[in-house]
């Protein structure tokens, strides 16, 4: 399948597809980070994760129309405000859901799956009622439109670069929060041994609530970034949920580094294959490879060596 392209063309194809893959990678990482915290650390299967992401996307859309209509002067900067609001909205909804639903189900992980699936149906229908069934897109500020010409054949879109920068920023802050802060220490303590963490005076219920909120909030930011590369509809989140779960499982749940590595390999494989095969076959082959590897190595790429 490589025969009909020259070497230079191939290089350019791999670079361009690689870059397209990096945008996919960014959205995957942001979604998978939240899920890795919720599934990997808490053991809750959040099937509504895609809907939390779409909430962030809708918040971004609302911000974009609001700024366009009322504060055109600040329009170039609306994206930063939208991201913060998306984080807060999804995080707050996440904490509410944890309080109202998830906290009763910590001992029944398979049931969290059904309950959050129900939640995702309700949220989808709510989006459809509020925003309509049609997909919406956001207006990008002018500085995010266009692309950087690297060589004659390779050009890189600016919004993609921006999404990647945001992803790196958020990944680093999450890593710092979990591995370097007092709150992160509490999260890890609760996840490793709930009873002991409670015995040394950590309010485990509060930690659960904030952890779940954090995971959902990151999904909201993912949704915000998602608006730059795709349009938002009530069921857009559902398209990503299977991929995201596979990424988290493939990376080895509970390992942030593994999540990033697996998101990278999956998105790159998929986007490179997409150029040579049809989109659906690229996806099938990628997912099949992941499932195959998981059958041989169920613990995923990276594992946390903790006695449970």
């Amino acid at each position: 399948m490589f025969g009909e392209y020259s070497l230079g063309d191939l290089g350019a194809i791999f670079a361009m597809q690689g870059f397209a893959g990096l945008i996919l990678f960014s959205v995957y990482v942001l979604m998978a980070l939240g899920l890795a915290i919720i599934f990997g650390q808490m053991g809750v299967i959040n099937m509504a994760h895609g809907e939390f992401m779409i909430l962030g996307a809708y918040v971004t859309y609302l911000c974009s129309t609001f700024f366009q209509a009322n504060l055109p002067a600040l329009f170039p900067l609306y994206f930063f405000i939208a991201m913060a609001l998306a984080f807060l909205a999804s995080g707050a909804l996440g904490m509410l859901v944890e309080w109202g639903l998830i906290r009763f189900l910590y001992k029944r992980p398979l049931d969290t799956l059904l309950a959050t699936w129900g939640l995702s149906l309700i949220l989808q229908q709510a989006y459809r009622t509020v925003f309509g069934a049609r997909e919406v897109g956001v207006e990008l500020p002018s500085w995010l439109i266009g692309s950087v010409q690297v060589t004659d054949t390779i050009e890189v879109p600016i919004n993609g670069l921006f999404v990647m920068a945001v992803t790196i920023l958020i990944t680093v802050s999450v890593a710092l929060l979990i591995y370097r802060s007092r709150f992160g220490q509490q999260i890890r303590a609760v996840m490793q041994n709930r009873a002991m963490a409670g015995a040394v005076g950590i309010d485990t219920e509060r930690v659960d609530r904030y952890t779940f909120g954090l995971g959902c909030g990151i999904a909201g930011v993912a949704g915000s970034a998602f608006t730059m590369v795709g349009s938002t509809g009530p069921t857009s989140g559902q398209l990503y949920i299977v991929d995201t779960f596979l990424i988290v499982v493939f990376g080895g749940a509970a390992s942030l580094l593994g999540t990033i590595a697996s998101a990278f390999s999956i998105s790159q494989t998929q986007s490179t294959l997409e150029f040579f095969l049809s989109g659906s076959m690229a996806k099938v082959l990628t997912l099949l490879a992941v499932v195959g590897i998981l059958m041989l190595r169920p613990q995923g790429l990276f594992t946390l060596k903790v006695r449970r």
Partner: protein, 388 residues
Amino acid sequence: MTNPVQALSKSVTVNDSPFMKPMEWLSLLVLAGFVLVVLPVFLDGFRLNLVGKYLTYAFVALGLVICWGYAGILSLGQGVFFGLGGYCMAMYLKLEASSVENTKIQSTPGIPDFMDWNQITALPWFWQPFKSLPLTLILVVAVPVLFALVISAAMFKRRVGGTYFAIITQAIAAILTILIVGQQGYTGGINGITDLRTLNGWDIRTDSAKFALYFVNAGLLIACILAAQYVKRSKLGRILVAMRDKEDRVRFSGYSVAGFKIFAFCLAAAFAAIGGAMFTLQVGFMSPSFVGIVPSIEMVIYAAVGGRLSLFGAVWGTLLVNFAKTSFSESFPDLWLFGLGALFIAVVLAFPNGLAGIWREQIEPRLTRRVKALRPAPVAIPHGTPAE
């Protein structure tokens, strides 16, 4: 003083209990009466065909009761087996419908119309076996079961279970859907395999054929219930429950845990496949929309609403959810998803044992009290508790 080992083995021995308790015979009678007599008498042909369609989902729910309720394996990919069974049947019917004289306007007569549209000139190898009816009837069950065997053997031998298994089965459902939709020339794509006409010369589109197929379907369902009851009541069923509750203890007792899990999963796949084949026969087409994640999870909710531990509950749950779906989405299409979502949450939070749980905890004790008041109470036989 009784030997603890003897006491234990006595409590495990189940063959002295009858095949079904009187209450279960009554449940079977009520269900059979409702499905075989009440519904055909009171419903018109169209509605009866609709109920027949619902009952094909009940096969899947029945498999989930064994696989999920008893063995503790939650599969989010039952649509895969339902779909494979349905596709096997549809491929046979499609080949019969695309005889050379029916398809003489095509550039290649004798192959299904969607292949001709996609410039395929010869019948692919995996379509060849479906020219024969006996082979098709075997493959309808064999293909999904073999597929289930491969998946479950790979997973359970490596002790992957629980949530991981659920996620992997879900991914497989997604992969198969994308594959079927993408390979339009071989599978009919998003539209599925449509325009099915005859089964070995017998026109399945007529009202009388649909009426007959309804009874075949209901009969098969009752046969599957009895088969599931046999598994549930046997020693095998007890091991499945023990495995669900304390897997390590069963393993340390010398049982091959993986083998039992594989069996439960394959049995559920076989039930789902029969349901899928009957779906194709009654509804007249098969499409990827019955394979993917959404239908697979919806089928789990049928079992959950009925009660994940009750075989009869699975059938009632399927019928109830689907009746609700049809009537709701006819009159308030917007509200249906809210209702379905709320149903998922309510079943998990408030009624983890579903309809059967409500019956067992609320209604049955009251009924027994009424009955007992009418006649002298039988002497209760105390059950020996195994020594810890």
